[in-house]
């Protein structure tokens, strides 16, 4: 079943970068004022509106703030209610990885999302494939922690539980550090 998710580089997949953020959530001017939860929600909602695009500064924020990445991962997993949602999410994150060239910084950032989500949704084989696309010296601590979880035989559901229960803490941390990124918006 997992063979449908291709994570190898595919040059035909190109994502557009959309301006932040859809008219529904105007956080461009209110980044510092808005709560961390709303900001994370705005990014996650954007994926639903524009599945073939990545919001501007999403990659920068994900690369700079671990708390942001963990909160977005948890929010994406929270939104999965039906099998269709699950398929859409898995497709989206694996396409992110497939769109990234080897050794690029995008690959590292997308792999962090994709490995966590595929592992949490019980697609360990896909998670392993995603991790294997990264060079050992370029792998971040969060990917090593997924490798650790796989090695210890942690069930994906339990990992998902950890990610979801960590969301309030991640949001609090992002709230505290978001002023550092306000100059981007």
């Amino acid at each position: 079943m997992s063979t449908q998710y291709q994570v190898d580089y595919d040059p035909t997949i190109v994502f557009n970068t959309t301006d932040l953020i859809s008219s529904m959530y105007n956080i461009v001017s209110d980044f510092q004022m808005d709560s961390a939860e709303n900001i994370v929600d705005a990014f996650v909602t954007e994926f639903q509106f524009e599945p073939e695009s990545i919001p501007n500064r999403f990659i920068d924020l994900s690369g700079s703030s671990k708390a942001f990445r963990e909160a977005v991962t948890a929010r994406l997993l929270e939104r999965v209610e039906t099998l269709e949602d699950r398929e859409k999410l898995l497709n989206m994150v694996t396409r992110w990885v497939a769109s990234s060239t080897d050794n690029s910084s995008n690959l590292r950032i997308f792999s962090e999302y994709a490995a966590a989500i595929t592992f949490a949704l019980e697609h360990t084989d896909v998670a392993v494939k995603i991790i294997k696309r990264n060079k050992p010296e370029a792998v971040s601590r969060s990917i090593w922690s997924i490798v650790d979880a796989i090695k210890k035989g942690m069930p994906g559901v339990m990992y998902q539980g950890y990610v979801l229960s960590n969301k309030p803490l991640a949001l609090t941390q992002f709230e505290g550090e978001k002023h550092q990124y306000a100059h981007w918006f």
């Binding site: 700079s64 963990e70 050794n103 010296e137 601590r141 922690s145 650790d148 960590n166 550092q180």
Partner: protein
């Protein structure tokens, strides 16, 4: 001119005739204002240098260092990143590259017998301090000669033991963008989620 913070970089740009691009007068480097308020150190002889700075100063005080596509193989690029990124060291070993942060940790001490003097605290010496052909030296010789274990060991300073550990702990780096603040990695601490996973214990299987 070596700039290591955003404020220093901004002041240097302000002092020039062109407020967006000024030479640093150091091995041909230039300081360039980038979009979003960032300021970058560019190496002009690199391809697409103006849009791909190897060191970028951000207004929030952070610094991004980048050396992708094999740039780290250049000794000059490594030296520029070390200078402007406030790193303690950036070196290559066995075709891999390593960075040593500003507040680096060290490996455990390894006190061993001095490898130079084999623990005696003294090494063989050359005696030539006497009046030539007029009076013998303290060893009774009138010509220069070796003296077995005649001087204090220059490696262990006569102690006979030396610390062969305590080397700085370096981090393997492939040149992908890294965020630093004050020469130290940003966000290098494990998050609570990572700590929770690290604390997870594999259930005993039957």
């Amino acid at each position: 001119m070596i700039v290591q913070t955003y404020d220093e970089a901004r002041n240097w740009l302000q002092g020039g005739r062109n407020k967006n691009n000024r030479p640093l007068y150091t091995i041909g480097l230039r300081l360039v204002r980038l979009t979003g308020g960032d300021i970058g150190v560019v190496v002009p002889w690199l391809y697409h240098a103006q849009t791909n700075p190897i060191v970028t100063f951000h207004p929030n005080g952070q610094v991004t260092i980048t050396a992708e596509n094999g740039l780290l193989r250049s000794q000059s690029v490594r030296r520029v990143i070390k200078w402007y990124g406030s790193l303690t060291d950036l070196y290559q070993k066995n075709f891999n590259h390593y960075i040593v942060q500003q507040d680096y940790q060290t490996k455990p001490q390894k006190i061993q017998r001095c490898r130079q003097c084999k623990g005696s605290g003294k090494v063989d010496a050359w005696c030539g301090i006497f009046k030539w052909h007029t009076s013998p030296c303290q060893h009774g010789e009138t010509q220069s000669h070796y003296v077995s274990q005649g001087q204090q060991c220059y490696t262990c300073k006569g102690v006979g033991k030396r610390d062969y550990g305590s080397q700085p702990i370096a981090m393997l780096w492939d040149g992908s963008p890294l965020r630093l603040i004050g020469g130290n990695l940003v966000n290098n601490k494990p998050t609570d989620l990572e700590k929770a996973i690290a604390a997870y214990v594999n259930p005993i299987s039957s």
